[in-house]
Symmetry: C2
Subunit: 479 residues, 2 copies
């Protein structure tokens, strides 16, 4: 266990510096590093440079990896660098790799922000409102603040750190996989575990460690018939309509209660154990909270554990929409010539995207043949990503749980998430090391929404959490 006196000294220093840290976050939020819009690309570079300067100030050695160019809005523009950093290289210490991103989602005052999105604004309830405050500038700067507090308190950092900060996370993490794969044999050699702070508490009061994410297989199924859109009055009743076929295929996929009907799909789902079931019982989460989040009471299950399990550890299938059909308001009597149906399956351990794709393709092809239609079917898996799950028993998690207890005086909840953060799996597979998701913000931070915020307490206690985690990592016996 980490030395309580040392931690106390560190915590006090963080408390003393808290206004300074808020000012630092304000500076970073003011840089409009929106990666999705070519007009803001200079600002993304500026944000990268801002981080490099902070690295220099703190004595973190660094490298900027140039990942080339992209075509955006019809222009070829430079991609922002992936910034690597190293702080300490004592062979007797463990080495933790920290990932984060310095780009942000777009934000416009007229979207409904209560204050200018790039001017960090503190409310009377001490919410720090601003684009990127919680996703992901707060956490990224949090790590550097933790180093600074150690330096100012005269405490040696008990682990070596590696950093990997990208500037394209909100826009598909261009070039990131390649860099992780390449650097796993060079810059990241010697890393013992990975920590990512780019998600959120489940609710608003209790800290959590996140140990699983669902994967996804995204499908586009195209049914083509006539060479052009037809008028339903003139042609209806005489041609095989692509919409009819697509709807019938769609109707075979999932039941109204969410059960996936594609044969074989559920076979690979890891069985639920008694032990795992237990984890869910204590999680702080209520049905009312969930109804508030979806703004209705249309949940399939009314039981907390079932809801969480169907979000996190069971697969689901959602039909997103149809490209090529009539989608505007009003009435149009079109008979669409070609329709592209889109649906996705959320994957869980041990579903493999390749096997899922094969099952989907086989099933849809067979069902289409049964229709006796002269139209043409094409099934395409447009994107596939495996689920990720880590063992909460690994020392990396045990250390983080102890850190949570030190800072918050509670044992954390162990959560998973329904969506995917593909980078997590890339790090795990490339480095073959445990990956921990250690969130700083709360479930209501509104990462990609208007009025994104980070509570001042989450920011400041988060800096303490990050530091405490490193001390617990140093103290724990790695297996």
């Amino acid at each position: 266990m980490a030395d309580p006196v040392v931690l106390k000294t560190f915590f006090d220093k963080v408390d003393n510096l808290q206004d300074h840290y808020v000012e630092r976050l304000r500076e970073a939020v003011a840089i409009k590093s929106v990666s999705a819009d070519a007009a803001f690309r200079d600002e993304v570079f500026k944000m990268g440079q801002w981080l490099v300067e902070l690295f220099q100030k703190l004595g973190v050695s660094h490298e900027s990896v140039d990942i080339g160019t992209q075509v955006l809005d019809g222009k070829t523009i430079k991609l922002p660098p992936i910034i690597l950093g190293t702080y300490g290289n004592d062979p007797n210490k463990k080495t933790i790799l920290i990932y984060g991103h310095y780009d942000v989602q777009p934000a416009l005052l007229e979207d409904g922000w209560n204050s200018s999105p790039f001017d960090l604004t503190e409310t009377p309830k001490h919410q720090l409102i601003g684009r990127g405050s919680s996703d992901d500038k707060g956490p990224v700067i949090g790590w550097l603040n933790a180093i600074e507090a150690h330096q100012k308190a005269g405490i040696e950092l008990p682990v070596n750190l590696k950093f990997c900060f990208e500037g394209m996370e909100e826009s598909g993490s261009e070039g990131m996989d390649e860099v992780i794969l390449k650097e796993s044999k060079r810059y990241f050699v010697g890393v013992d575990a990975v920590c990512i702070s780019d998600n959120y508490w489940l609710g608003v009061t209790k800290p959590c460690l996140t140990y699983g994410l669902r994967g996804i297989s995204y499908f586009k199924i195209t049914v083509s018939g006539p060479g052009r859109d037809l008028h339903s009055g003139v042609f209806g009743g005489t041609v095989h309509e692509p919409m009819t076929d697509l709807i019938l295929l769609f109707s075979k996929l999932v039941s109204p209660s969410g059960e996936i009907l594609i044969p074989g799909i559920n076979d690979d789902v890891e069985p639920l154990t008694e032990k795992e079931n237990k984890i869910y019982e204590s999680i702080e989460f209520t049905l009312d909270e969930y109804h508030a989040a979806i703004e209705s009471k249309t949940t399939i299950h009314d039981d907390k554990i079932k809801i969480l399990q169907h979000r996190w550890r069971f697969p689901s299938l959602s039909i997103h929409g149809i490209e090529g059909a009539f989608s505007a308001p009003g009435m149009k009597t079109v008979l669409p010539a070609k329709v592209i149906g889109k649906f996705s399956i959320r994957l869980v351990p041990h579903m493999e995207p390749d096997r899922v794709n094969a099952l989907v393709e086989k099933f849809l092809t067979e069902e289409f043949a049964k229709l006796g239609s002269k139209n043409t079917l094409n099934v395409e898996c447009a994107h596939g990503a495996k689920a990720w799950v880590a063992s909460p028993d690994h020392w990396n998690y045990v250390a983080a749980a102890k850190a949570v207890e030190r800072v918050f005086n509670v044992h954390p909840d162990y959560t998973r998430e329904g969506g995917s953060i593909p980078i997590t799996l890339t790090f795990q597979d490339a480095l073959n090391k445990n990956v921990l998701l250690l969130p700083m913000g709360r479930g209501d931070d509104g990462a990609h929404s208007t009025n994104e915020k980070l509570d001042r307490s989450n920011y400041i206690e988060g800096i303490k959490l990050f530091g405490a985690y490193l001390h617990e990592v140093a103290a724990i016996k790695a297996d």
Copy 2:
């Protein structure tokens, strides 16, 4: 039977005047009477005035019915008048009411026209290309040309004529139904039959008389669930998805071979008789032609008679699309909160829109209940119009068939159409008289497309046809 010598004199006069008639059409096409665009409203009025001046020149007495204003593109603008005309009022003659419209569809050179759309251009194959040439300026002017040819040939018109020309047909026939209903007790008193020339031959070589049109019931079914769109990763598997429910409802409507599955819907369909079946045998129509029109070979039936019957005299159901779901290219993992599915049923005799709506609503409500979903369903019939069918044995049709034989030396095909021309039914119901659809143009005229055309021969022979029809009407014994 009409006097062959008189007809020959009339036909010769029309042939003599044909260049004059083409020039007259050119003048009319040059007036950009696009009713859908407020910027062209003056031109629609100008076109109405042009017709009034032609009426005056020919001695047709007339009235302009002011139908008030409309709001278009945010402005309140005047509606173009409905122009009524009377030519002759001999109580010993039959009276025929002629309907047509003087407005046209929008047209821009950059849409892909080979020549300026409002400059009538004659090709080496004698196609008169120009917006409105076939729909509906050629036919409207055709009637007036026929009167003029009679006058110049010194032949008395053997019937009385009433005219009803509107300037809003391409934009929902604003105010038209009310005028027909009102004038049925005043201006249209004494009318014996109605003739509308605003459709087309089935193919490109053989004239036809059109005696039926399908109606339509257009449905919007709304499934609502969450209060906002959700992310399928975060929420998929835990909420009743409106898309899943809508797809399952859609899947119950129609089979891949076009059979409507809603119980009771087919009960009211008029049984096919041997006699009716016979009509279809001789119709000039080939499968190849149809495959060319739909630009594929995805017809449900490969038999000419079945194709025509399913187009014209059997109901059909088409699913048009979904409002509220993801419809753009690319991938989006949205779980739509509210989706509005749109489909329509083409109605045939003796289906009643009210009964159809009741059956659809009952069926969908029952099927939705079976889903066990917590979402909410709303079924709305957004538009309903009955089918129309006239007896081809009526003297109005017999006279027209004789006229076709006089001009083209063939017996016409008897066709129906799959779409609706609502005015047809309005005239029939308001006047309680037989309505004949007597097309001037060919099936490939491209009425609402780029390069709309009217073949010179269809225009000139059409003028003869209109005149001959009036003579045959006069000669025939009305029952």
